[in-house]
């Protein structure tokens, strides 16, 4: 994997704002991510995290400000446009279709075909084989590729969405709260995949409102609060307590003492893997 220059961000938002009717969802927010870097986007519920990454994945257009890829300004006309440029997003809540099989989900929108003309058809054999291989590589054994995704656990579904994004040659991987519905162990699996994607040179934007998940994997932390930027920090520049108070959750620190123990455990199992 060749990284042209790690000093130019692969993807960035420059001073973007977004209005929904009268609600100012975002004001003057900037964010950037480089190849081989994980930028954790932190903020409380309703802070505008999803709105920001929806602009970066072609769902919304910014009302003001610009987007840039490799330093060049771009306009994203649709999610498909963003995908073609190598921006793969695993959206919050709608990562996969539960009533469809693993391989049908894996190749949705990118189905391989064989044959020509009216006989051009979905190459199910290839789809099954590749989906199985990719899931195997990422640590999930698929019993039957016809198995419905609804039968998989939440962690496995997130993993499927991440594996799919990586397989289709993404340069930027955007994950919107992939761990919010998961337990500690399953979260650790997802965090491990984030580190793996980083090691392969992808630029990763990882959204969470859970600081314990962000700290072990983030190179950079971008904090949103009520639609505004509350700062950007490098790894090591900031502590858990500082991040929490910036996000507006400082008062709940007491309750965190116990959760911190879990964090250390999760961190240890990450290092082991």
């Amino acid at each position: 994997m060749t990284v042209l220059s790690s000093s130019v961000p692969v993807l960035e938002a420059r001073n973007v704002s977004k209005l929904f009717g009268r609600v100012l969802a975002l004001k003057d927010v900037s964010l950037s991510v480089r190849a081989g870097e994980v930028n954790c986007l932190l903020g409380d519920n309703g802070a505008g995290k999803s709105t920001l990454i929806k602009m970066l994945s072609g769902v919304h257009r910014p009302d003001s400000g610009t987007l840039a890829m490799d330093g060049e300004p771009i306009t994203l006309s649709s999610p498909h446009d963003a995908q073609k440029r190598g921006i793969a997003t695993v959206f919050q809540d709608l990562a996969v279709l539960p009533l469809m099989s693993v391989s049908r989900n894996f190749f949705l929108g990118n189905e391989p075909t064989v044959g020509v003309g009216p006989l051009r058809r979905f190459d199910i054999a290839t789809a099954d084989r590749v989906a199985r291989e990719q899931m195997h590589e990422i640590g999930i054994e698929v019993r039957e590729t016809s198995q419905l995704v609804g039968t998989m656990s939440g962690g496995e579904r997130q993993t499927l969405a991440i594996a799919r994004a990586e397989y289709f040659g993404a340069r930027v991987l955007i994950l919107d709260e992939p761990t919010s519905a998961l337990g500690v162990k399953q979260s650790a699996i997802v965090l491990r995949h984030i580190l793996r994607a980083r090691a392969r040179g992808l630029a990763v934007i990882f959204i969470t409102h859970n600081v314990q998940h962000a700290l072990p994997v983030g190179d950079k932390f971008t904090i949103l609060s009520h639609g505004r930027s509350a700062g950007e920090f490098k790894r090591g520049e900031v502590s858990l307590e500082q991040l929490l108070s910036l996000m507006g959750g400082g008062s709940e620190l007491a309750e965190l003492a116990t959760e911190l123990e879990q964090l250390r455990a999760a961190g240890a199992s990450l290092d082991a893997g």
Binding site: P79, L97, M100, R104, L108, F122, R132, E137, G139
Partner: protein, 355 residues
């Protein structure tokens, strides 16, 4: 991160038996249902063979009904899997039939041109249905309920104007006799034991096979499932949601036109009110065939068994002593309820059976 075991090894260990896979297929219930209904009516007619229910004539009679509703059921299933309804298919049958009859009988156009105009009309209305649904975001239930009444009303009014007050156009046979294209819709393929099997049987088989092939073996089919499962997720994965829906509305309208051509060219007359209620029979066919009312899951092949259940029930009732066709609607409603509950159960097994 490398793992030593090859994927093919893992897959050999964890094979599920084909029988269990079959049990979780969406069409499983409809196959059981078809066998059950057939046996039930045979039993109710005293297990007689050679006359009545279990005769070539009886068989030909319910295959005719089966084939006709099955042509609608297959495309309606695809549309329902994509999460939409088309209530206008019934009045489309009436409207398309009128257009064909007026073309060849009232205006004396050649059959090929009449067919062309009929199919073009159906595709146009189907496109309008689809366009309105994707553009307005209104439920297709409402949009096609609107087109149902508009087609029927306009059909009645315009036919009366063109035929001096009648709503039935007759005399189609005299203009189509001996026409090879007409034979495609009303020809008899084979007669066995007094039962005539007609070309509609072939139309049905073709429509079901093409629908099944499209659904299970093409990219478009993958999109049909996805669009019905979650429209927004599909769009974010690059699926052309609007195009999928519009094309499916065109497919249901087209199948209604095929149905209309079969009826008009077989009876020699067209009636605006023909096809009334077929929209619901098509939906029931789809549901018995294992398609979810909420979209995202289902089978076009299953609709063939669903159509068979409908055909056998509708005709079978005549053969049962002491019953008459009044009971058809009752049994149909009952079947719908049972099928919907069975579908839920199968779906729970398919998406919950984790082992």
């Amino acid at each position: 991160m490398t793992v030593d075991a090859t994927p093919s090894e893992a897959q050999r260990i964890r094979r599920i038996s084909p029988w269990r896979t079959f049990l979780t297929r969406p069409e499983f219930g409809s196959i059981i249902g078809a066998v059950f209904i057939f046996t039930l009516f045979w039993a109710l007619t005293g297990f007689t063979v050679g006359k009545g229910f279990m005769s070539w004539q009886g068989f030909a009679a319910y295959i005719e009904v089966t084939a006709q509703v099955g042509i609608l059921g297959a495309t309606v299933s695809l549309l329902m899997i994509a999460g939409e309804f088309d209530l206008s298919v019934g009045s489309m049958v009436g409207a398309a039939g009128l257009i064909l009859a007026m073309c060849v009988s009232t205006y004396g156009l050649p059959v090929w041109l009449g067919l062309l105009i009929t199919f073009a009309f159906a595709l146009a209305i189907g496109w309008i249905n689809g366009y309105l649904v994707v553009r307005t975001g209104l439920p297709s239930f409402i949009v096609t309920l609107g087109t149902l009444y508009m087609l029927r009303g306009a059909g009645l009014a315009l036919t009366r104007m063109a035929t001096n007050g009648l709503t039935i156009v007759s005399g189609v046979n005299t203009s189509t006799a001996g026409d090879p294209l007409a034979w495609l819709f009303n020809g008899t393929i084979i007669s066995i034991g007094g039962g005539d099997f007609k070309t509609e049987l072939v139309w049905w088989i073709v429509v079901v096979l093409v629908s099944t092939w499209v659904l299970l073996r093409t990219r478009f089919g993958n999109w049909i499932f996805a669009v019905g499962g979650n429209k927004d997720a599909s769009r974010s994965m690059g699926v052309p949601v609007s195009r999928v829906k519009i094309l499916l509305f065109m497919a249901t309208a087209l199948s209604a036109a095929i149905f209309a051509c079969i009826q008009v060219l077989s009876f020699g007359t067209a009636d605006v009110l023909r096809g009334t209620g077929k929209e619901f029979e098509a939906i029931i066919t789809a549901v018995i065939g294992g398609t979810l009312l909420t979209g995202g899951y289902g089978s076009a092949l299953g609709s063939a068994f669903g159509a068979f259940v409908l055909g056998v029930t509708q005709l079978g009732i005549y053969f049962v002593p002491g019953f008459n066709s009044d009971w058809y609607a009752f049994v149909l409603g009952l079947l719908l309820l049972v099928a919907a509950m069975l579908n839920n159960w199968i779906l729970r097994r398919a998406s919950g059976a984790r082992s």
